[in-house]
Subunit: 502 residues, 2 copies
């Protein structure tokens, strides 16, 4: 596929100078329209060493309005980046809606480099590429325009280019040992790149190979391409509507089951007070030791707390907290998003709080809001919440692959118990603020929520991150069961054999 | 001063249990009011080892509503933190308005530890403490409530406490080598702490020493103290008004000078085209080499671009950019703040983008907006912009102390030249978007802006970060002068002797 970019395309200085003013005008006008649009543009600048990625990006910084442009270079990972899943740094860097993000180096750099130096074999490389396809698809489905540029040089051109750079003292530094190594490995690099581009040139995010031997041709071609693609996307986006979007969405009907997992729970389980006290002490002590060990082994943990209103999420958090070191955990209550959060993919605000190695994040409500409240209240379109299931599964599998322990609780109570608790709350001074008219309104949609919960459990209870359904009509029973599960999950991850009696 | 916290204060379990429900109610009610308030609460939890900082914070996490609470523990710096000025991590962690931030460890931890282990002498310690006073004063003047808690144990109590922890397998891990060392150094620690507390117990942010041998007494006392201080601050804040605030502000009149620095500039300097081309190539080449060396030596640079509308900031940026590696710089155009930015101190959004070691950040307009547009347009109160001068000076001196090269440009044109450029812009297609009615409106306040610029230069041109006034009626002259200054500043910092002819 690279042959098309070895045709000797070039542009004279005169022609270049003639074209630039009009092109800049168009780029700036396009950016002004884009700044009001409801999607971001992500531009990956990849390609051969010496093909001029940096020079091109400098030029685009000259031509475009920097207010709506962000350039990001991904180099070797920093410590903060190493202590989170691979994609954390890419998530942090995603541009807001209305902006263009220029990426030098991207999620492609590592897989290609690791394959060329033989750290990965073909099958492992394809595993990386599968992740990439899922990630890019998610961005595109959220509205993003993903433009992937591959700046190509032939072997001769690359050699020539490196020689030119090396012979001029002003540019010799640009030639790194890595570059020289890559030149020696040109054929491997080329075939790996070709394989990678083929595997990831999807309908929604195709690769574009740019002949890069002549800088004038390269820069004008890229700028024109950006202009066309963004203008096209602006036009398409203006005409799309949510209804049509929904018609095209997954057509598989969600099944209304007679028997559901939630329906199968034995809601009468309970614990007497003295047994509870004794078990609480036991499991908190155990959790404390395990959490300490997880910190020592730099294992992080994500705890997701979902459940009906008044199911006891806060009470459970208060029973988990004493077993943890205050220095190592954070509780993230999920409320309305800020405007920065709203200007990104909905998963962005959860990625923000992913714990460093050895730390714990407790999400009090979570990304599952997408398939629960946002679905039921119509805040997300049908296609949005339908695709969220697989997006969430991929997100959680990335956490687990990084080594994070992911524990998801659904605290389940029945409608009668909820009503009883609402009434109780109104009589306890420091709980009164917890109960609002909205809580009563939500009760009216109990059946819809129940359907949403059943679908959620069915579709997102994966092997790597299963749901733990907690019968919570008895708070005591629920807390002990949850603490015990936390301990078991940690034990499993840490390779500790559980010894404690219950 | 610690003797007051060695009185044997204690609270029985019964008394504790009796008081908690009422206290929790009050805390939650207070937080609901606070959540609507226009200031953040910053609570530092410091003190002796074994005094229960972590346990206290866990308890506060139980009692308070986590939606408006954020706990942060400052441990050894991560790589990302080491590559920025010391206070960068504290800035990142500041709570939003309406929230409480609980800090375990803070800007006090390092100075005290470094003095106890004799890395610092008394004079150096006082230097650290002077920074702290400036920092806290700035937070308080911005409206923040800063509560500083010192949990105290006597030497005997601390020894006893560490023994207790060490003898129980469930808690033995809490006793670190650092703790044991600190016990051995108890007397040094105590006297350093006492000195530190005295030096930093200011009217606006006093220390409160809490007797901490009895956990029940400690927790109830702290919770009551938080309650009272926050309620008091809410009341005071509701009754303060900006006018009164301004009356109390600095009374020194700003002097209207006959002769000003700006007035003294020779605005007729210019360069012919061929000299310009030659010098541009020379200085861009030089800058390129120096920037490369700065990267190698991991020296970061902050470039501040201020100037009249149409003075040529964008054009200058486009002449700097080709000398830099696109991987290493970012351009931060300062536009309207986001809501997250609005919910913090005005310097917060600039701290966000402080470059890592070896990197460059160019601010296209900057924190100086506070004393320019915000002053002239009345967006900041008189006391706010008056105190901004010293806040900015301290901010920049922190950058320089970290090793960052700070270069500040004021691009100066006269009113006639500006009008000429406005007219020109209207005729060039890709510049037309740059000119709006507002630009013409701003011209009408030229004299006010001129006064503001003169005051700014007078008050913020410090030895560590002087202003560079650029005569910019000639764009060519301005660009060459600015590039030359960048080179000189880098040479000075890198210890390179400038060899190039002009």
């Amino acid at each position: 596929m690279f042959e098309v970019a070895e045709l000797g395309q070039a542009l004279s200085r005169e022609e270049f100078d003639k074209r630039v003013p009009e092109l800049r005008t168009q780029l700036l006008e396009m950016q002004r329209t884009l700044s009001q649009a409801d999607f971001p543009v992500i531009v990956l600048v990849s390609g051969s060493d010496g093909a001029g990625k940096g020079v091109l990006v400098n030029r685009l910084n000259e031509w475009l309005d920097p207010r709506y442009l962000r350039t990001l270079a991904f180099d070797d990972k920093t410590q903060d980046e190493r202590e989170r899943p691979d994609y954390w740094r890419f998530w942090q860097a995603l541009p807001q809606k209305g902006r263009i993000g220029l990426y030098i180096g991207s999620w492609y750099s590592d897989p290609i480099a690791l394959r060329v130096d033989k750290t990965l074999n073909d099958i492992e490389l394809d595993g990386y590429l599968a992740h990439i396809r899922i990630f890019e698809r998610m961005l595109v489905e959220d509205g993003a325009l993903v433009i992937k540029l591959w700046l190509h040089l032939s072997k001769d051109q690359q050699q020539l280019r490196l020689q030119q750079l090396a012979s001029d003292p002003a540019t010799a530094w640009r030639v790194t040992e890595k570059d020289k190594l890559h030149l020696a490995l040109y054929d491997d690099f080329r075939s790996t790149a070709e394989h990678t581009l083929r595997q990831t040139s999807t309908a929604e995010a195709p690769w574009v190979v740019i002949e890069s031997a002549d800088p004038n041709y390269r820069d004008i071609t890229v700028a024109n391409h950006l202009l066309e693609r963004i203008q096209q996307h602006l036009t398409l986006h203006a005409h799309s509507d949510a209804a049509q979007d929904d018609e095209n969405s997954e057509t598989v009907a969600l099944i209304h089951r007679q028997k559901t997992l939630l329906g199968n729970l034995d809601m009468d389980q309970s614990l007497d007070k003295s047994t509870y006290r004794q078990k609480l002490e036991h499991w908190q002590g155990k959790l404390s030791l395990l959490a300490r060990r997880a910190y020592e082994q730099q294992v992080s943990m994500v705890i997701v707390l979902e459940g009906w209103d008044a199911a006891g999420k806060g009470g459970l958090i208060r029973r988990i907290v004493p077993a943890l070191d205050a220095r190592n955990y954070q509780i993230i209550p999920i409320a309305a998003p800020t405007d920065e959060e709203n200007a990104h993919h909905y998963l962005w605000r959860f990625w923000r709080h992913i714990p460093r190695d050895g730390r714990v994040t407790m999400y009090d409500r979570s990304w599952y809001g997408r398939v629960l409240v946002e679905r039921v209240e119509g805040l997300a379109s049908r296609s949005e919440w339908l695709r969220a299931y697989s997006e969430i599964n991929d997100f959680e599998s990335q956490l687990v692959e990084h080594g994070t322990v992911v524990v998801k609780f659904w605290l389940h109570i029945d409608a009668d118990e909820q009503l009883k608790r609402f009434k109780e709350r109104e009589t306890i001074s420091y709980k009164r603020h917890k109960i609002t008219d909205e809580d009563y309104r939500n009760r009216e949609r109990w059946v819809d929520y129940e359907q949403a919960v059943n679908d959620m459990v069915e579709r997102t209870s994966t092997e790597v991150a299963p749901w733990h359904l907690i019968e919570a009509n008895s708070k005591r029973f629920a807390r002990i069961k949850a603490l015990k599960i936390l301990c078991q999950q940690l034990e499993q991850r840490l390779g500790v054999k559980g010894k404690g009696k219950e």
